[in-house]
């Protein structure tokens, strides 16, 4: 099932479609408020600032020493029988997984939530090979049968009401379920159960790899991560190359930072630490464990000013607090990663040609930087990308406009002249002290809002009037 994103080549076009569906903003708004409230309640009484500072230091230290930790981790992982594959590109990663599935004659794959796997469109590729791929995280499952990409990093179907989910299940499965979340969940549990037991391959993501023991670890609440990594004979984990920590000691801070920021929990229901395939003495567990370490544009970010974006632990808090995301969900960003993290990461991974409008899909309010548990200066990165864009890709019209504007306003005399000319120029457009329809580019303002007119006497004119 290929998932169709919202139509539109630009953020503005996609947002236009989504803003035209008021239920999205409504559902999202209340869901995000709940998530923020739960997080705030949990963190009240903790020293959040100390946790964030420690989190920032831990991630900065790790990324700065990334090669060393990846080396240590992969040596220890391989010593325990894990097969580690380093993938330069998404295509390389996909082909490796396809080869494993082919060799194992896999016909059914169960998948836990993995943003990295969606980034490389893994499920699509396996499906073209004739393999049935089933999303098992409830939110991802809903989105899969709706044939839509996830709308949020942590809660993929957060933009849907219970009624929409009911209608979806009933339509796809021919059932007559009520809209009670418990009922819908029970149906999903039953439906996916058999699949877990029959699946040939389980694919998951990785929340944190631990260099100290060559382990990977997965954070889930539903149990699908445990199912996918325990029942099928083959477990493949897709891991962004930056998702690593030096040792378990750092988890003292990193795990609660993640769970508190993502779902307002002290800890997730399951924290699953996997150090290799089953040992000879184990009664169950997968025969094969593969970890695909994915670059796909990440290492190119390391030498840049944006390196700290790789500190991200994918908690989704920035999405929860973003006033732009709240109106439209992740679907407006045309990428697996939406919201502030997506507006920075997507152009860095895919290039400014393709995603250069995303850094402008923000009012720079700074709420994301404020909430990030590892203190990534997200809004600074957005500004930095805008600078890069202005240098490399700005159109002549935009460049000239700012050039003229700054020339005019670099001298008080020219600035005063500008004021007088504006007062004259606005005359045909002014209705009383308002402008209802302005010429381009201010027409983009007056589509939805009135503009004030330039004051009859500006402040500085009044000041000089008063003879001070």
């Amino acid at each position: 099932m290929t998932r169709t994103g919202t139509p539109g080549r630009t953020f503005e076009q996609r947002a236009h479609v989504l803003l035209g569906q008021p239920s999205i903003g409504r559902n999202l708004g209340s869901a995000l408020d709940t998530m923020l409230g739960t997080r705030a309640a949990l963190l009240a009484g903790t020293d959040l600032e100390a946790m964030r500072t420690a989190g920032e230091q831990i991630r900065a230290h790790t990324i700065a020493n990334l090669a060393g930790y990846l080396e240590e981790w992969s040596e220890k992982a391989e010593a325990r029988g894990t097969r580690v594959f380093f993938a330069d590109t998404g295509a390389e990663a996909v082909n490796y997984v396809r080869d494993v599935c082919r060799r194992r004659h896999a016909s059914l794959v169960v998948k836990g939530k993995s943003m990295a796997s969606e980034e490389i469109a893994l499920a699509d590729a396996l499906e073209t090979d004739g393999i049935e791929v089933l999303e098992t995280d409830l939110g991802e499952y809903i989105q899969q049968i709706a044939e839509e990409p996830p709308a949020h990093i942590i809660a993929p179907a957060v933009h849907r009401s219970r009624g929409e989910v009911r209608d979806l299940f009933n339509r796809v499965h021919g059932t007559d379920l009520s809209d009670e979340p418990a009922r819908l969940t029970a149906f999903a549990r039953e439906h996916l159960r058999a699949k877990f037991l029959e699946a040939d391959v389980g694919i998951t993501g990785v929340n944190f790899a631990i260099a100290e023991t060559g382990s990977i670890s997965i954070v889930t609440n539903e149990g699908n991560g445990r199912m996918s990594s325990s029942l099928p004979p083959v477990h493949i984990a897709i891991m962004g190359m930056e998702r690593i920590l030096p040792s378990f000691r750092e988890l003292t801070v990193m795990l609660p930072l993640l769970t508190a920021s993502a779902t307002g929990q002290r800890v997730s229901t399951y924290y699953n630490v996997i150090s290799g395939p089953r040992r000879p003495e184990d009664p169950d567990g997968p025969e094969e464990l593969h970890v695909v370490v994915l670059d796909n544009g990440r290492s190119a970010i390391l030498p840049t000013e944006y390196r700290s974006i790789l500190h991200c632990i994918r908690c989704g808090a920035c999405q929860n607090v973003c006033p732009v995301f709240r109106q439209v969900s992740g679907h407006a960003y045309g990428s697996v990663y939406g919201g502030p993290i997506g507006a920075v990461l997507t152009p860095l991974l895919r290039g400014m040609e393709e995603a250069g409008d995303l850094p402008h899909a923000s009012s720079l309010c700074g709420a994301c930087t404020d909430i990030c548990p590892v203190k990534i200066p997200l809004h600074e990165h957005l500004l930095g990308l805008r600078r890069d864009g202005a240098r490399e890709r700005a159109g002549a019209a935009e460049r000239t406009t700012f050039r003229l504007w700054s020339w005019a306003w670099s001298s008080p005399r020219r600035y005063r002249l500008f004021a007088r000319l504006s007062r004259l120029g606005q005359f045909p457009f002014a209705r009383g002290n308002r402008v209802r329809r302005a010429p381009f580019p201010l027409s983009r303002w007056t589509r939805g809002r009135d503009l004030p007119t330039v004051a009859r006497r500006t402040f500085r004119e009044r000041w000089s009037d008063r003879g001070a």
């Binding site: 803003l19 500004l383 809002r449 004030p452 000041w463 000089s464 001070a468």
Partner: protein, 249 residues
Amino acid sequence: MINADRRPERVALFVTCLVDLLYPEVGEATVSLLEEAGVAVDFPVGQTCCGQPPFNSGFVEDARRMGRTLLDAFEDAEAVVSPSGSCTAMVRSHFPHLFEGTPDEERARGLTSKTYELSEFLVDVCGATSQGSLDARVTFHDSCHGLRELGLTGQGRALLEEVDGLELVEMARPDACCGFGGTFSVRLPEMADAMADDKLDQTAATEADVLVAGDSGCLMHLVGRASRRGDRARPVHLAVLLAEARGLR
């Protein structure tokens, strides 16, 4: 930084381009409030704009060109006060980086250490108290840059609370961005409108007569949208409301 122990006798007014050109009454109210607080006000005429519009669009050289007028205008001032959180934040948070490695580096740093937003100056430096009286139900919008870049956590509300007869009610999310974001409001107008609608809906739910904010950008955006929607609450700058309450003109 200056603090309450060393209140300056004179300050230079950084009026901002929006106030100068579109909302001069905000500038006048600012001057009145400062003079009432016992501080004399100068207005160096060389100032034009802090350079935020080109800066936020990534055009740094253009931002420097505009911002330099402030470096020139305020070079000799002991303190600079502005009725705008975002313009003050532009100076305090971004000027050091903007002018780093240029001949203006030192002046930029100097300006950073002596520029204040109006409400923080009145409360933290002047220790302003009684604010007159006004019979109104008022709700407050925390402008983003003031809140997050300057750390203005309570000065605006503290001043409002000192007004006799004024009832301050909180909207559901006072710190949510109104959608102005400078050029954002023109680049993504539909999104900016949706965000303004959110803010105005929250305001309407409080049944406030007045929506107060410390930034003219936010106010221009909200007034413009409210005008189309027919909202009852009038968006007003904090300085104008306080001056009204004090009977100053």
